[in-house]
């Protein structure tokens, strides 16, 4: 496994801090919800850019050092490197941005019944879809579109569209958020 894969952990962990730790404290400093949300989106985009840059750097510089072994980087697994390293970095950036927004919205909902319902639905989808072949195919198509996608343009377009939709949904959740 490439060391660069671990950089993705930062993308997974950051929304936890933004939602459970920073929101309340920023509100106590006098920030408003609008500024908080815009700041979150900008931070996610900046972080996605930095993580993508670091992982691409590791993939180019550190991974080839282990010439005796096959080093697996997520950029290869997701077939993004088929489009050249620059486009692969872009694909990675938009995918990580989508992951962070998805987690942000999901975590924001946890204080409410619809958050728990979403958790149950997501777990049910994984549990039910995985063992049943036709349904597994549906899951496979979905992940082929948002993650393991060699078609850069299609992949980036889907990530951007889903991110936009999730951002709007996240705004609705934020509007209901109490302190």
């Amino acid at each position: 496994m490439s060391n660069g894969n671990y950089t993705w952990l930062l993308a997974v962990l950051t929304p936890f801090f933004f939602v459970f730790y920073d929101f309340m404290k920023l509100m106590h400093l006098g920030a408003n919800k609008k500024d908080y949300y815009i700041a979150c989106l900008i931070s996610y985009m900046a972080l996605a850019f930095v993580i993508s840059l670091v992982n691409t750097g590791i993939h180019l510089v550190i991974d080839p050092i282990y010439s005796a072994e096959t080093v697996i980087n997520m950029m290869d697994v997701c077939r993004w490197t088929e489009n050249g390293i620059f486009v692969a970095a872009l694909q990675q950036m938009f995918f990580l941005f989508l992951v962070m927004i998805f987690l942000h919205v999901l975590l924001s909902m946890q204080a409410y019944w619809y958050g728990w319902l979403t958790d149950v639905i997501l777990i049910a989808i994984i549990c039910i879809f995985t063992p049943i072949t036709p349904l597994r195919a549906v899951l496979s198509v979905f992940f082929s579109l948002i993650m393991i996608n060699g078609n850069a343009l299609l992949h980036i377009a889907i990530c951007v569209l889903l991110s936009a939709a999730l951002s709007l949904f996240g705004l609705m959740v934020l509007k209901r958020k109490t302190l």
Binding site: H28, L29, G30, K33, K34, T178, L179
Partner: protein, 282 residues
Amino acid sequence: MIELKQVTKRYGDATVLKNLNLSIDEAGIYCLLGRNGAGKTTLLKSIAGYQNITSGTIKVDGKEVSTALLDTGVSYIENFAKHFNLPVRKLLQIASKVNPDYDYDFALEMMERFELDGKKKFNHLSLGMKTMISTIICLSSNKSVILLDEPVLGFDALMRVEFYDMLSESFKRHPRIIIVSTHIIEEIAKAIQKLIIIDKGTLCFFDTLQAVEEKAYSVSGLKNDVEIAVRNLNVIGEDCVGVLMTAYIFDKPLAESSLEIHPLSLQDFFIQLVGHKGGVRK
């Protein structure tokens, strides 16, 4: 300007605010009084748009407030508010970045007046100091409505005196609506213009301190004499010991009488207004 119309807030079966109507249209320092569980925090949080009400409307500067309003223009600070574990000076700096009209000079001035170490991290401060930081941040924000929920909790006597001075000074610099909820009634009297008293979710009193000074008094004497004297007056409480009786009045002054008449302190007025024994109003 704050306008509350028929505001009701329920948590399950419990009704915390009941058809509350209140209109504050003048800048000033207002004191919000009420017993524990009277609905003070719920009221303040609802005005700040931190939680939704069950029915009714709340408007601040003409805008209807709810959690859906992303920028309410209200600054609210609760007791024991948590902040980032950063040095005090850094916290004040960040606050100045997120509040467009922040008075940074005032914040620094207050930091020095309260001898707060700018390099000390928030978690290393005492409870009183933490509360003071929150209050300074809230007052320096210069938003049109400032809501302070029990800001003197954890303050020693000297800090409380300094706090009341800070409140007055902040208001002089930027006149706006400042609502302070507290239990230490007599001390804050010097700093405030109007008094809001709520009990069991309803508004009991909203008037100036002058009104309390002029209209609130006690009448003591023989039970029969007192009953006759206060017959047509607004009696807010009574105490009886044998044949002696003390009636607490909020009304026009009593004409010359042989009975003992004493003005009510703010605390006594509050106690008589919201006093209950065994869940039943006296």
